[in-house]
C-alpha cells in the first residue's frame, strides 16, 4: 500500500437547499423549492426515489401484490424526476457540518462534497427494535425487511411465515403477502382495546378515510383465511441454527420465517449527530427533533421534515416537506413572509387531515414494556456487540446513568450500526433499572462518519491530499 497524490481539491458545488432523502418529504420539498426558484440538491442513499413507502415504485408499480399501494407515489415520483435539480441517488451522507453547510457523501466508493445555504433532513423512519429472545436467529427479520424484499425484487418468504407484533404495517404487509401468494399466521401483541382507545383518543370521524383503509385490510386478511392469534405475550423465537418457531404464552407456531414489528420511530441518527435539540415524545415513545411549525430546528441552517420529524405517514410527510421548502425560500429571501404563510395554508390543512387518526393509532399500538425493555437477562439488546439486557442492568446498577455511559462500560452502540437499532432499548432498560423516566437517561450521541467509510474514501475527499493505492 502506498500514498499517491491526487489532484488539487476543487471548491464544492453550492446550492440554496440541500435535501437529504428522496422519500415523500424530500420529493415534495424539492418540488416546492423549485417552484420558489431555489437551486436544489437531493441526495439519497437508495438507488431510486420513493423512500421506504414508495420504494422501487417505478419497478413495483406493475406487481399485483403492490400496485394499489404504490399508485399514489408514482405521481409524486414523476413530478420529482421532472425537476431541474441535482439528484444524487446511491449517495450516503457520512458527515454534515451544519455551521458551514457542508455535506460529505460516499458515492460509488468516492467522496462527494457539496455546500448548501439551507439543509433539510428528510431521512424518514426506522422500525422500532423488537428485542425478544432469539431475535438474532437467521430467519427472524423485521416485517419492514420482508416488505422491502417484496418491493425491491418481488421476493416472498418461502415455507411457513409467522408475522408477529402490531401496528398498521403488520396488516398492510399481511395483505401484500397474501396478494403475492403467501398466507402468513399473525400473532398479534396488541393489548389495548380498540373501542376504549377510540373513545379516549377520538379522531375516528376526521380520520375516517385512514380508518376505513385499515379496517379494509383487517377484513381482507381474515377473508383470505389468515389465522390471527390475539393478545400474545412473552414472545420467544426458537431454533438452533435458524428460527424454527415462535413461542408465546399459551402457544407455539412453527415457522421458517418470523417477521417482527412493533411500529416505527423517527430515524434521528443524523439529527442527533449534528447536535440538534431533541425531546422525548411520550405518546409515540421516541425521541424527535424540536421543531417549529415549518420544521425549522434548533440550528439556524437545518430543518427536518417527514417521519424523521414525527411519525405521521407519507401524506403528512409530503405536507411537512412542502412547509419546510416554503420556509427555506422565505429564509433565503425568495419569498415574503406573507406569501409563505399564504401558501402554507393548504399544506397545514393537509397535515391536520393526515394526522387525524394518529393519536388513536399511537395509543392502540403502544408497545408493551416487555418490548421496550426486555425482562429476560440473556436477551440480546445490541445486535452488533451482542450486549444482553442482563449486562445492561448490571451496568445501570453500578453507575451507568445513560446510554453514553453504558457504551463505555459495555460497547453497546459501538458496533457498525452505531446504536441506531439498540439506542431506544438501551435507554429504556437503563431508565427501568434506575426507576427514572427515559427522557432523564437521554440518548446516544452519534458521531461522524455516520456510516463506515474506507480510508480510501476519506483520503480521496476534497480535504484529503492523498489516496491509498
Amino acid at each position: 500500500m502506498s500514498l499517491v497524490p491526487v489532484k488539487a481539491p476543487q471548491a464544492p458545488q453550492k446550492f440554496d437547499l440541500a435535501i437529504v432523502g428522496a422519500g415523500p418529504a424530500g420529493m415534495a420539498a424539492a418540488i416546492t423549492a423549485r417552484e420558489c426558484g431555489l437551486s436544489v440538491l437531493v441526495v439519497d442513499e437508495n438507488p431510486a426515489p420513493g423512500g421506504q413507502v414508495f420504494r422501487a415504485a417505478e419497478f413495483a408499480g406493475t406487481d399485483p401484490a403492490l400496485a394499489r399501494d404504490m399508485a399514489p407515489g408514482l405521481d409524486l415520483i414523476g413530478r420529482f424526476r421532472a425537476l431541474d435539480m441535482t439528484y444524487r441517488p446511491g449517495a450516503t451522507l457520512w458527515m454534515l457540518d451544519p455551521d458551514t453547510g457542508t455535506l460529505s457523501l460516499s458515492h460509488l466508493n468516492e467522496t462527494l462534497e457539496f455546500v448548501a445555504d439551507r439543509i433539510l433532513l428528510a431521512t424518514g423512519a426506522q422500525e422500532r427494535p423488537v428485542p425478544i429472545p432469539g431475535w438474532t436467529l437467521p430467519g427472524v427479520m423485521s416485517a419492514g425487511a420482508a416488505q422491502i424484499a417484496l418491493k425491491a425484487a418481488g421476493l416472498v418468504p418461502s415455507g411457513r411465515v409467522v408475522l408477529a407484533g402490531q401496528g398498521p404495517l403488520v396488516w398492510l404487509l399481511a395483505n401484500q403477502l397474501i396478494r403475492a401468494g403467501v398466507l402468513p399466521v399473525l400473532v398479534e401483541t396488541r393489548t389495548q382495546s380498540i373501542l376504549r382507545t377510540a373513545l379516549e383518543q377520538g379522531g375516528i370521524f376526521s380520520g375516517f378515510p385512514q380508518l376505513a383503509k385499515g379496517i379494509g385490510l383487517i377484513l381482507k386478511a381474515r377473508q383470505a383465511g389468515m389465522r390471527v392469534i390475539s393478545g400474545a405475550r412473552h414472545l420467544r423465537a426458537e431454533g438452533s441454527a435458524r428460527v424454527q418457531g415462535l413461542r408465546f404464552e399459551g402457544g407455539y407456531e412453527a415457522c421458517d420465517t418470523l417477521l417482527l414489528h412493533e411500529g416505527v420511530i423517527p430515524a434521528t441518527h443524523i439529527s442527533m449527530a449534528i447536535g440538534l435539540d431533541h425531546h422525548w415524545d411520550a405518546r409515540q415513545l421516541c425521541w424527535r427533533p424540536r421543531l417549529d411549525v415549518f420544521g425549522a430546528s434548533s440550528h439556524a441552517r437545518i430543518a427536518v421534515a417527514g417521519d424523521g420529524a414525527v411519525i405521521g405517514g407519507w401524506e403528512a410527510a409530503v405536507a411537512t416537506g412542502q412547509l419546510a421548502a416554503l420556509d427555506a425560500a422565505f429564509r433565503l429571501g425568495r419569498l415574503a413572509a406573507a406569501d409563505r404563510d399564504f401558501r402554507a395554508e393548504a399544506s397545514a390543512d393537509a397535515l391536520l387531515q393526515a394526522r387525524a387518526l394518529r393519536p388513536f393509532l399511537d395509543a392502540l399500538y403502544a408497545p408493551s414494556q416487555e418490548i421496550l425493555a426486555p425482562p429476560e437477562e440473556s436477551t440480546i439488546i445490541c445486535r452488533c456487540e451482542e450486549v444482553t439486557a442482563g449486562s445492561l442492568r448490571w451496568a445501570a446498577a453500578i453507575g451507568a446513568t445513560g446510554p453514553n455511559q453504558a457504551k463505555a462500560y459495555l460497547r453497546c452502540g459501538m458496533g457498525p450500526c452505531q446504536g441506531r437499532l439498540c439506542g431506544p432499548t438501551v435507554a429504556a432498560v437503563i431508565a427501568e433499572t434506575r426507576s427514572v423516566p427515559v427522557e432523564e437517561v437521554g440518548h446516544f450521541r452519534p458521531r461522524a462518519p455516520y456510516k463506515p467509510i474506507t480510508v480510501n474514501e476519506l483520503a480521496g475527499s476534497p480535504h484529503g491530499a492523498h489516496r491509498l493505492s
Partner: protein, 98 residues
C-alpha cells in the same frame, strides 16, 4: 429463505453468491441475492461467531455486512446488484490487508 416471483419480475441479473452463479430479479440488492441463494448465514458475528441474516434490509442494522466485489464490511442491503457482482459471506471481524 426467499423465493422469486418471475411472473411479475421477469428481468434478471446474474451475480455470483459464494462463487455460485445465480439469476436474481433486476432491482435486487446484494442482501436480497443472499436471501434467494438460501445461505444459512450472511456473516458470523465478530463477537461470538453466531450466524446472522439481514434484519432490517434498509441500512439500519448492519447485520447484512458482506464482502462485495472484494470489499468487506459492506451493507449488502444498500448495494444494488450489477451483472457479474461477486457476493461473499463474511466470517467474524474484517481483516485488515497488510
Amino acid at each position: 429463505m426467499f423465493r422469486t416471483r418471475p411472473d411479475y419480475r421477469p428481468e434478471t441479473v446474474q451475480v455470483f453468491v459464494e462463487g455460485r452463479a445465480l439469476m436474481v430479479p433486476e432491482g435486487s440488492n446484494a442482501a436480497a441475492a443472499l436471501l434467494i441463494a438460501g445461505l444459512p448465514a450472511i456473516r458470523e458475528t465478530a463477537i461470538s461467531g453466531s450466524p446472522r441474516l439481514p434484519w432490517c434490509m434498509m441500512g439500519v442494522c448492519f447485520d447484512c455486512l458482506a464482502e462485495i466485489d472484494g470489499i468487506a464490511n459492506r451493507q449488502a442491503c444498500m448495494v444494488p446488484v450489477a451483472a457479474g457482482m461477486r457476493i461473499a459471506r463474511q466470517h467474524g471481524a474484517r481483516e485488515v490487508p497488510r
